[in-house]
């Protein structure tokens, strides 16, 4: 750090000395009606070929060199474009933008709605996903889902049918840094992955980064999914609510002190358990539910300071209870996240902005059984947990229109309890309490500069130094990051990027479908950290007339030290007593190897106009290799998909009606299938080693992931009917999932058809989860 400070100071000084006849405009960009700050808004001065964009907190700073007043454009997807004339002097200017919705209502301007040009941005492999588009798309059960929308982007695969698991460029679901208001969300899924934990009503922005990672992100190998919660309306009280077939939700927001402070709360809960309750016998209760709760408050202390406090709490729970005359039985399985973030924004001057965050994140998974009779009580509790406390501080400095410098530091204290169990039996008077606990300190320091040395060239270079201390090990690892863009001609640019990432915590999973039983574990002296390097190159083209953007990217990603269970090991068959006796830990059940993937991604996107949407195509290969798995031979990853196509269309027929359609096609996932079925050789009488009866026949699996499942495709349709009422707007949202009821394989099994057809023969069967599923949701907004 000591060595970095003079370096930063030198940059500052050299820039300041040359900064003559310059003036800076800075401030916050907000939504007109709600005063919600807007991140990612572009402020462009075309005459001087200078631009800047607002940061995550809506703050912008643009330094220009001119003796005359200049015109700047303020451009953001979903908002009316604004043009302002600025006098040549330092100015603090908070800018308010009208939403497109508002523009439509007022019928003021048509065709002025614009978006950021992809060809003018240095960043590549990055996609902003408008929350409004997420709400327009048809979804399974009518549940609008951020992660399932992300799955429709090129380079992103879903795990299996209905799952909200995200596999980016051959990476696993644990390799995604999923952050909500700076807090890491460890388990992003409800109901074994069918729904994500993020309630779209509470979200302001969603950004997906697949490569070319800026230096301020670290800790994961494959992607960053950065979500920001809304601040809450500072002008007036508003809300949204919806009743669907699976869940109901409500969101309320409003000012605490007008223009200074606001709040937002949102909640969602499923009610299948309440509906089946009347059908259960007397004395018995059982079912499943999940719920989410988001809350945020903010307060503007003055012109230069703002404080935010936000949090998320969610739970999934299966439960069964029965009560007899002299006995009582309870079993439950629950898991969930809790996050909390306290942030302080401070503007030092027109060019320097700081955010400091104190962050808490917790994920735990519990299984509990309690059996009580008049004579004895038996209880068993198993749980695993990961808990983080983080402190981070980020500075953004805007010395000139050519430079935006970011630097910062973050430190996270992880606590892991991968396997903990408590057992008590009063009948045999036995009990045990076994907890595995690990602590790890993960830190990072970074500096990056977005530099525009030439009107056609844009560079984003940076370095992150990550540090990790745990289990007697201490590691410092440099992570260089680089992204560049060269504007070949107007609206057409070439981009390239390179990034190195390290991951110090791992998710042990052998299902690959994101069960909550997957265990988070730290890197230790035996399990070394994972490391990836990714290189990407491609073109970006804006079609101004058609309001469309095309990006084509190729990538190669190499990952070292990925972790997996050894063959045959799993969470469910680990004999904990035996482990203790033999002094074996989870580290004995895992092995490390490597993975590499490469591919090509094409995205044609239209964000504005009556008709919007995108077409995405991915061609990719993903391999893995472990010395002690599959006899050391390389194999395709389970989520290797050769072709993946997504077509998404949203058509606003009128302010009252919206139609949408999604069609997806993908080559099947790889699965491990037996290549032979043999009668059990256990029938070898006379042999000392043969008689192990495991059934009448046994399957012989000769290679890992040796069979590609049938191709997956599906069409979803959605219709929304909006109507303005006196005090609110109501929307009927009708979704039809899998319109042509394609039975996409969820898993494959060899089955004896004797019970099905009477014939004693083996055939391969597919089991699908979701045929055509219509759903309807009633929403109101006031």
């Amino acid at each position: 750090m000591k060595k970095l400070l003079p370096f930063c100071f030198f940059i500052y000084l050299s820039i300041e000395l040359t900064a003559q006849h310059r003036f800076t405009i800075s401030g916050y960009i907000k939504e007109e009606q709600s005063l919600e700050t807007l991140p990612g808004v572009n402020i462009v001065c075309r005459s001087l070929q200078a631009s800047a964009s607002s940061n995550e907190y809506g703050f912008y700073s643009l330094t220009l060199q001119s003796s005359d007043s200049v015109v700047v454009d303020i451009v953001m997807y979903g908002y009316e474009k604004r043009q302002l004339r600025v006098a040549p002097k330092d100015t603090t200017l908070d800018i308010e933008l009208k939403t497109f919705e508002k523009v439509m209502k007022e019928v003021v301007v048509k065709g002025k709605k614009e978006e950021t040009k992809v060809s003018e941005s240095a960043q590549m492999s990055t996609i902003d996903i408008p929350v409004s588009q997420i709400k327009d798309l048809p979804m399974l059960g009518g549940e609008k889902d951020v992660l399932k929308t992300i799955q429709l982007m090129p380079g992103v695969q879903k795990g299996s049918e209905g799952s909200s698991g995200v596999y980016v460029r051959g990476g696993g679901p644990d390799q995604n840094l999923i952050i909500l208001d700076d807090a890491v969300v460890y388990n992003s899924q409800h109901l074994f992955g069918f729904f994500s934990v993020f309630n779209g009503d509470a979200l302001k922005s969603v950004e997906l980064i697949k490569g070319g990672f800026p230096a301020h992100y670290g800790g994961r190998l494959s992607s960053v999914i950065n979500m920001t919660m809304k601040d809450g309306n500072k002008e007036a009280f508003h809300g949204e609510a919806g009743i669907g077939l699976i869940s109901s939700r409500i969101m309320l927001e409003g000012p605490i002190v007008k223009k200074k402070s606001s709040f937002l709360v949102s909640a969602r809960r499923t009610y299948a358990d309440l509906l089946i309750q009347p059908f259960l016998p007397k004395g018995q209760k059982g079912g499943y539910y999940f719920y989410d709760f988001n809350a945020k408050v903010n307060y503007q202390l003055g012109e230069k300071d703002k404080i935010y406090l936000s949090g998320y709490f969610g739970r999934d729970k299966f439960y069964a209870k029965s009560k007899g005359e002299s006995s009582r039985y309870e079993a439950n399985l629950f898991w969930g996240n809790a996050t909390s973030t306290l942030r302080w924004n401070h503007v030092y001057n027109k060019k320097l902005f700081q955010n400091t965050s104190l962050i808490f994140s917790n994920f735990n998974f519990n299984i509990g059984v309690k059996d009580k009779t008049s004579e004895a009580e038996y209880s068993l509790k198993y749980y695993s947990l990961i808990r983080d406390f983080s402190l981070k501080s980020d500075f953004s400095y805007h010395p000139s229109a050519k430079h935006t410098i970011k630097l910062g530091v973050i430190s996270t204290l992880h606590t892991f309890k991968p396997q903990a169990s408590e057992f008590k039996d009063t009948y045999t008077e036995t009990s045990s309490n076994d907890v595995q606990r690990y602590a790890a300190l993960e830190s990072g320091i970074y500096v990056e500069d977005v530099y525009k040395p030439h009107p056609r060239v844009l560079l984003n270079g940076g370095i992150r130094l990550s540090a990790y201390h745990a289990d007697g090990i201490q590691q410092w690892r440099p992570e260089p990051r680089f992204t560049s863009s060269y504007l070949i001609k107007e609206n057409f640019s070439f981009k390239a990027s390179y990034a190195v990432m390290n991951q110090y915590i791992h998710l042990l999973s052998n299902t690959g479908i994101g069960l909550p039983t997957d265990l988070w574990v730290p890197a230790t002296s035996r399990i070394v950290p994972e490391r990836s390097s990714i290189v990407a190159a491609g073109f970006a083209k804006d079609f101004e007339k058609q309001k469309m953007a095309l990006t084509v990217e190729g990538y190669y990603k190499d990952i070292k030290n990925i972790v997996t269970y050894k063959e045959g090991a799993t969470f469910f068959n680990i004999d904990f007593d035996d482990l203790e006796k033999r002094n074996i830990s989870w580290e004995d059940n895992v092995t490390q190897g490597k993975s590499w993937s490469y591919g090509l991604e094409v995205l044609l996107q239209k964000k504005v106009g009556k008709f919007s949407g995108w077409a995405g195509y991915t061609l990719s290969w993903t391999y893995q290799q472990f010395d002690s798995v599959n006899f050391g031979r390389k194999f395709f990853a389970r989520y290797d998909r050769r072709h993946d196509i997504s077509l998404v269309g949203i058509y606003h027929i009128s302010p009252r009606t919206t139609l949408s359609a999604v069609w997806v096609f993908g080559s099947g996932n790889m699965v491990t299938l037996p290549t032979a079925i043999a009668p059990n050789p256990g029938q070898i009488y006379g042999s000392e080693f043969g008689y192990i009866d495991i059934g009448y026949y046994q399957s012989a699996y000769e290679a890992r992931n040796n069979y590609r499942m049938p191709a997956y495709h599906r069409l979803d349709l959605g219709m929304q009917f909006h109507k303005e009422k006196k005090r609110y707007t109501r929307t009927w949202d009708i979704s039809i999932y899998n319109v042509y009821s394609r039975l996409n394989a969820f898993f494959l099994t060899w089955e004896n058809e004797q019970y099905r057809t009477g014939k004693n023969q083996f055939s391969l069967y597919k089991t699908a989860l979701f045929p055509i599923i219509p759903s309807i949701t009633y929403n109101i907004k006031f």
């Binding site: 969470f571 037996p674 008689y691 039975l743």
Partner: protein, 289 residues
């Protein structure tokens, strides 16, 4: 009404099951070989099994444990030691190919080749080398009483010691052998467990023990046996020195045993070219108690 939702979900899933149009090839023209040869055994035995054919309709009792129709009985089975070879005849009584050691003796240190061909099947071939028998010394036998769910019983603790040959991979297996009135010997693998205080390198269950941690050294081993059968005619241990094929095949069998849907299926080990199964060798040293 209690099971209403279970029935609904089950019906839903069944309704969503379909036979795949393109059935993969199960490669059923291969032969499954199962043979463990040992100088101390009276017979050289080879069992050949037919692999199931996908989509073929079999008789209804085809998979039953008492039925042996899946055994290949018309194969040509030749075993050779490099200098002489012999054809193993099929024994319908034992349902395998066997020959007495007087006709074709198995010797420690020798490499044997097995060649199998059968009508309509791919010919296959495998090779193994017989390890030398290693003498294990029983240093002590303790009898302890233990409590199992409130019932007291006896258990034996066997202390063994042997010298591991240096500079080579060695694998060991300890079998409890009880001679019942039945024709075959009964072995229960799960009763043999190691004492973690002594066994420093690895677990010692029925997957066997490798000498990774004690190459060339004297090794002490303690095993506790519970539920000793008193009805057996005689009881003892077979201390086996096995080849690598043996070890790896039984590693696979153990993993496959659980049949756990949440684990990645273990990849089958075979040393049979163009076929499946195992042809392996071992030597044993009997310890009579």
């Amino acid at each position: 009404m209690k099971y209403f939702w279970v029935v609904v979900v089950a019906l839903g899933l069944l309704n969503c099951q379909r036979k795949l149009k393109d059935q993969p090839d199960l490669q059923s023209d291969r032969i499954f070989v199962s043979s463990f040869i040992c100088p101390q055994d009276p017979y050289v035995e080879v069992t050949l099994l037919e692999l199931l054919e996908g989509n073929k309709v079999y008789p209804n009792n085809y998979y039953s444990s008492s039925d042996n129709t899946h055994t290949i009985n018309d194969a040509l089975v030749i075993i050779s030691d490099g200098s002489q070879s012999v054809v193993l005849p099929f024994s319908s009584k034992h349902n395998n190919y066997r020959i007495h050691k007087n006709v074709f003796p198995i010797q420690e240190g020798k490499t044997y080749t097995l060649e199998v061909s059968a009508p309509g099947k791919r010919s296959c071939k495998a090779q193994c080398t017989i390890p030398f028998a290693i003498e294990a010394v029983v240093s002590k036998i303790d009898t302890i009483r233990y409590d199992d769910s409130g019932l007291s019983s006896n258990s034996f603790v066997l202390n063994l010691e042997w010298q591991d040959p240096a500079f080579q991979k060695n694998y060991y297996l300890l079998n409890r052998v009880e001679n019942f009135a039945y024709e075959y010997q009964y072995v229960d693998w799960n009763w043999i467990k190691a004492d973690s205080n002594i066994s420093t390198s690895s677990t010692y269950e029925w997957e066997g023990l490798s000498d990774d941690a004690f190459d060339g050294k004297k090794y002490k081993f303690k095993s506790e046996i519970k539920n000793f059968f008193s009805s057996s005619n005689s009881i003892g241990y077979a201390f086996c020195h096995t080849d690598e094929h043996f070890k790896r095949y039984f590693d696979w069998k153990k993993l496959n045993y659980y049949d756990n849907p949440f684990q990645q299926p273990p990849i089958v080990y075979t040393n049979v070219e163009n076929g499946l199964g195992v042809f392996s060798g071992y030597s044993k040293f009997y310890i009579k108690l």
